[in-house]
Symmetry: C2
Subunit: 430 residues, 2 copies
Amino acid sequence: MPSVRIAIAGLGGVGTETVRLLRAGREGFRRRLGAELEIIAVCDRHAAQKARRLGLPARVLRLTDPRRLAALPGIDIVVELLGGLDAPRRLILTALRSGRHAVTANKHLISHCWEELRTAQRAGDSRLLYEASVAGGIPIINALETSLAADRIEAVYGILNGTTNYILSRMREGMERPEALRQAQALGLAERDPVRDLSGQDTADKVSVLASLVTGAWIRPYLVRSRGIQDIERQDVVFAEEVLGRRVKLLGAARLSGNDRQPELETFVSPTLIPLDHPLASVQDEFNAIMVRAAAAGDLMFYGKGAGPGPAASAVLGDILRLGRALVSGASASPPRPAAAVPRLADSDSAFYLRLAAQDRPGVLCAITSALGRLGISISTIHQPAGDGRTAPVIITTHAANPGTFGRALRDILALGSISRRHTVMRLLS
Amino acid sequence: MPSVRIAIAGLGGVGTETVRLLRAGREGFRRRLGAELEIIAVCDRHAAQKARRLGLPARVLRLTDPRRLAALPGIDIVVELLGGLDAPRRLILTALRSGRHAVTANKHLISHCWEELRTAQRAGDSRLLYEASVAGGIPIINALETSLAADRIEAVYGILNGTTNYILSRMREGMERPEALRQAQALGLAERDPVRDLSGQDTADKVSVLASLVTGAWIRPYLVRSRGIQDIERQDVVFAEEVLGRRVKLLGAARLSGNDRQPELETFVSPTLIPLDHPLASVQDEFNAIMVRAAAAGDLMFYGKGAGPGPAASAVLGDILRLGRALVSGASASPPRPAAAVPRLADSDSAFYLRLAAQDRPGVLCAITSALGRLGISISTIHQPAGDGRTAPVIITTHAANPGTFGRALRDILALGSISRRHTVMRLLS
C-alpha cells in the first residue's frame, strides 16, 4: 500500500490533537484513501518529551529546529502548527518551493504573505491548504474553493472571532466587559494578551484571507477598515437589545460588486447591530458563523466552533486528506483561484450608531446634529438616557451614510468642547 | 485550450438555470479551470424550442430522447435533471458504465439506486456527484465527503424540506395547516400533490442519502422510521411555543454510534419539538439547515435555501467544476467512501409528545397513564386544556423512552374505547 509521508511542526494543542486523530483514525484513512497516512517526523521545542507522551513509535524523527524539518527528504506534506510568523513562513516557503504540499492553521501567515505563498506554490507545483485558519472547524474555505467556486460570491461576512463573541454574549447577560474578558481568559477562550482579538485585528486577518480567496487578489489586512469592541460598554449592548431590538456582534465582512473586469470590494471589521431575527443574532458564546451571499445559491450560513484543538485539528486533517487524495490519484490539487482583476476598494453606505458623553447643557445637541447635517448625514433616532448630572449620554442612529463622511463628522463632533473624547461607534446591518 | 464536454438532460427550472449560469460564467470557468466548459447537447421534450429561448448556438445538439443522449460519443459529463426515476436511472447508469462522469439533483434516484450507482461507478472508473440532491444550494455533501471526511461523524440531522418548514412557520403565526399549504402552493414552494413532502417521504429520501454517504453502506429509505406533519394542528404548534417553550420542526436525522467494526445507526423523520435557543429553531420559512456533530469539529450547522432553480443550479455547477478539475488534472475524482461495515440499525430513546382527544369523563386519564406505565414509560407533563364538553384534548410529554415501546403503548391507548383515533405524536429534541 502506498504511503503519504507527513511531517508535523508544532506540538501545541492543535498539533497534539492532529497527531492523536491521525493515529486513532488510521484504519479509516487507509480504507478511504487506499494509502497510509504516515507521520515521518515531528518538530517541537520539546519534541522528544511530547512524542513520548503521544506514544509515537521510535522511527518517527523528533526534531527541535523547524529548519531541519524543512530540509528533510521524502516528505509529501508539511503540517505547520508552530504559531508566530517567521519560522512558519520560512518552513512553508521551503516546503512549497521544493514541491511539497503544506497545511497550516496560521491566518496571520496567510493574510500577511499571500502573494509570496502563491508564488512558491507556482514554483513548486505544490499546494498550501489552510482551512483551519478561518473559523476553526467550519469548512468555509473548502466551500468557497469548490462547492461555490462556480457561483458568483457577492458577500462573505460573519462572526469570525470566538473570544469577542463570548465577551459580547456575557455583556448581554449583564456582565461588564472587563469581567467578561476575565471569564473568557479563565476558560481558555481568550489569550493573556487579548489585544489582537479585542481590537479586531484577528478578525481583519480572517477577512483578508476570505477576501483574497474570493477575489483571487491579495487583500492586505491593513486595507480592512477595522474597529474592535474595546469601546463597547454594557450599556450599548443593553440599549441595542431593549430599545433598538438589535444585538451587538463583531462582524468581519467582504462585499463584492462591479463585474469580472472591474470588480469592487468593500471590507470592514466593526461592532455591528444585527436585527434579532437575523441568523447571526442567535450565534452565542464562542461560536463562529459565516454568511455567504452567492448570486445563484442565495444566502448560506456556516456555523460551528471557531477555535480549540478539536475543531482546528479536524480542519487540518480534512486538508491532509484532500492533499493525500490528490497525491494518491497522481493529480496536483486544484491551484489557487486566479484573480480576474485587482478589485477597486470601495466603501458602501452604512447606517451608524454613535454614543457620546455630552455635557448636560443647552445647545450641545444642536451642535452635534449640525455637525452631522453639514455633511449630509441624516439622523434616524436620538436618545438621551438620564446622565449623572454633569454629563449625559447621547445615542444617535443615522440613516445610511458614507463611512468616510461619517468619520469626518465624528471628528468634528469630538472637537466640540462640550463632548468627551470617549465614544462608541457601531454599524447597523440592514 | 482543452474542453470539458457536457450534455444536459432536462431543461426545466434547474436545467435552464444551469445552462444560463454555465454560459454567463464562461470566462470565469475558463480562467479557473484552464479549460472550456462546453455544452455539447441538451435533451428535453421541447429541446428545440427551449434551446432557442436560451440562445444556444446551432452546434449544440437538441435531443428529445434521453436514450439517444446516453449513446452520444465524446461526452465527458452527463448532467441529469429530468426528474422521475426510470429515465434518469437508465441515463446515468449508461453514462457511468461507459466511463463518463455524471451529475444529478435527483435524491429519489440516489436513495433508491445507491448500490447500483456505486457498482456502475466502479465498472466505469467514473464518478457521480449529487450535491443538489440534499438541501439545494447548501454544500453539505461536499463538506461530508471532503472537509469532514477525516473526522468521525456522530450525527447528521436537520430541516431538510422547505415546503413543510414553510407550512410550520405559517402555523406558528396562527394559520391553519390547509391554508398554509395553499399559500405554499401559491408561492411555488409546494407541489400540487404535496403528499411526499407532508408525509416525510421526501425527507426520508434525503436522510437515506446522508446516512449512506456517512456510513458508506446503502441505508434504504424505507428503513428510515418516518412520520410527517399531516397530523400536526395549529394548536400543537401554539402549545409547543407557549407552554413548552419549544418550536415544531420536521427533522430528518441519522445518528451513528458504536465503532468502525460494529457501527450502529439510528435514522428517523419526525416532527420534533426543538428548544427555542437551538440553532435549528430560528430556521424559518423555506430555508433548510443541517447540523453535523463530528467527534473533533464539534457541532456544525449549514444553512441556506433548500430548493429553487438558483440554489440547485449553483450546486450542480459546483459538481461540474469539481469533475472538470479532476478531468483536467488527469485524476479520477475521489471515489465514493467505502463502508467499514454495514451498520446495525438501532433505536435510541427519545422523549415524546402525544396529543389525544379523549371523552371528557372520569377514569380516562387513569387508563391512559396506566397504558404508558405498564410499559415502563414515565410521564413528564400532562396538560388538559378545556375541550368542547364532549371531548377534551390531553397532551402528554414523556421522559426518554424506546420508540418501539412508545409505539406499543400508543396502540394500547388508541384501543381504549374512550379515545379518538385522531392523535398527534412528536419527538422532543434533547
